[in-house]
Amino acid sequence: MKTRITLLIVGFVALVSVPVLAGDAEHGKVLYEIYCTQCHGMNGDGGGINVRDMSVQPRDHTDPVEMGARTDEELVKVIKHGGTAIDKSVLMPAWDDNLSDQQIDDLVAYLRQLCCEQ
């Protein structure tokens, strides 16, 4: 019984942490420069040109621990509907008017590369 529960937990963790979206990271990188670097920084470390007067600093996308704590679905949600959609800061705006679902998947694929494959 214990083994079965352990297997179930391991399986669940694997399901939520492995990227499941068919995003194009290379295209996501292009979109990231266009839409995200002003706040998240040219290197994705959260130090963009807009941050000086911000009350909450933007997420460091190069931090594997911070980014590993978010599922792909959460990242999609926060890009699409803004920070408040996942109980985070209102400072992160909703981009669903500007970006298509595919473009958001591309961004998420790039975020995974940025945080955890470099």
Partner: protein, 230 residues
Amino acid sequence: MKTWIRSVMAALPAVVLAQSVLADSAGWVQEDCAGCHALDQSAYESLEIEARPERKAPPLFYAGNKFRKEWLVTWLQSPERIRPAGDYPPAHIETVEGEDRIDDDSLPDHPALDADRAEAVAGYLMSLRAREDLIEAAEYEPGNTPWRLAQMNFAKFNNCVACHRDEPDYGGVSGPELYTAWERLQPAFIASYIADPVAWDHLTLMPGQDLNASAVQKLVDYLRMMAEDE
């Protein structure tokens, strides 16, 4: 009847002259401005987002529904930067010792025009009136939003301050400064653009926030009150 014909004949040279000035300005604007500013609506609308990094200045094909003419005439004679990091900020950011900052040397100055040319160019730009439907649908009547509430709408509730400055040295720098917005822009344009920036410009870097009419009203009131406060 004779008097009527005489009046028309007398007015004709002025009309012909005005049309000729407009045509001359159109040619001049096409020649000197189209390198940086989009003037052709359909060509601009066919661009994909991947073309955004190449854009050097805002599109002008809806200038007549965007700017106040008197401001244009003045600004064209002594242009000052409105967008601290340029039209495409990532092209003007340098990272020094891990810190992003604006590379001022990479930002080109806008050419200054003499008074006659500025008047003529502004006149022509005001004739470019794409997005008429958006302007007609926009509504703005000055409201009596309390100053503090209007300010909180700008800075806290809608987070405009992340990208825009509402005073010369406070706020984000990737968007145009907004403490001069009221003197530059037509009220209906401001209201419409805040409500749906993507409808105006599909390559905008401003997120559409699906704001309701009340939130838009408070934000436009804030920009107006800032101008009145000076």
